[in-house]
């Protein structure tokens, strides 16, 4: 795996992501500055980490989506390269047009920082092959704008094509209104692109990879990527 973690002014989860990638793949990712024109040669995975890029000015992720390095990220995605966007990274992917929809203010207006449950909808993606479809994992969220919205046609397309990869659910895996923490359409917590090579998700799997923290439920995502890139 040759991963590149993009660092914007205001990113703050890049080290968590780097730790999770190194722990699961044994390889240290490159940290790439937002003003760079190119990704390191041979990059096979780009990660957009969480944080508050550009202070969330204008709209979350809006300025970062137009940063210099994003042309290289777009080109990487167009080549079929893997891209993972977590939290602010998901917001940036939507603003950059690499994923459809937009993340709006949480319906309850509150910033939510706690552990939640996610249902893994499919295991046939490079991001989830180490999970079983239908598995319930516990990972943290930390966001004020995670309420996924898209027009009805786009949502129908996402659902019809099976591109919803994670949904908010309760501990038993039931997708209930109460478990939908931020009011997202269809409790959507993570989606993939049409070719399933670009994943955006609001929760933070990178924070549940080390047994010292008490949960390793997020580890499967990074192990999936390591495995997908090893066999590729």
């Amino acid at each position: 795996m040759k991963a590149a973690v993009i660092v914007f002014p205001g990113s703050n989860r890049e080290r968590d992501i780097a730790y999770a990638l190194e722990l699961t793949s044994g390889q240290k990712p490159a940290l790439v500055w937002h003003g760079d024109r190119d990704l390191p040669a041979g990059t096979d995975l780009v990660v957009l980490p969480g944080g508050f890029s550009y202070g969330d000015y204008l709209r979350c992720g809006a300025i970062a989506a137009r940063a210099t390095v994003m042309d290289a990220v777009r080109a990487h995605a167009a080549r079929g390269g893997l891209v993972l966007g977590v939290c602010n990274g998901f917001q940036i992917l939507c603003e950059a047009g690499l994923l459809p929809g937009v993340l709006m203010r949480n319906a309850q207006l509150k910033f939510i920082a706690r552990n939640i449950h996610l249902k893994v909808e499919r295991s046939d993606t490079p991001f989830t092959r180490r999970y079983n479809a239908g598995a319930v994992i516990e990972v943290p969220v930390a966001h004020g704008e995670g309420n996924f919205i898209a027009d009805a046609e786009t949502v129908a397309k996402l659902e019809g094509e099976g591109r919803v990869v994670f949904r908010y659910c309760d501990a038993a895996g039931q997708v209930t209104a109460d478990a939908n923490i931020n009011g997202a359409t269809n409790a959507i917590a993570g989606i993939v692109s049409e070719n399933r090579r670009v994943l955006g998700m609001m929760p933070h799997p990178e924070n549940h990879v080390d047994p010292a923290i008490g949960s390793t439920d997020g580890r499967g995502l990074f192990e999936s990527l390591a495995e997908a890139l090893q066999t590729a």
Binding site: R66, V102, M104, R105, N106, A107, Q108, I149, G183
Partner: protein, 79 residues
């Protein structure tokens, strides 16, 4: 030349901030306000160019950055 761009949420898009403001107005005892939708205003100074070129430049600014047309509309007023 000056221009003002007003960005508003499209009809039907939930606006939790507007709802909160609506609630605050009610609790302040301000009567008669049915609902509130929050938006953004951008005041732009435009370089010397003809009106058509200015309109095109501002439209590009709106489409490329100022508005997210998935959920927002924009209006351009040139003074």
């Amino acid at each position: 030349m000056k221009a003002r761009v007003t960005v508003t949420l499209k009809t039907g898009v939930l606006d939790p901030q507007g709802k909160a403001i609506e609630g605050a107005l009610k609790s302040l005892g301000v009567e008669g306000i049915g609902s509130v939708r929050q938006g953004k205003v951008f005041d732009l100074e435009i370089a010397d160019m003809d009106r058509a070129a200015a309109e095109a430049a501002i439209k590009a600014a709106c489409e490329k950055l100022l508005a997210n047309t998935v959920v927002e509309n924009y209006r351009i007023d040139i003074a």
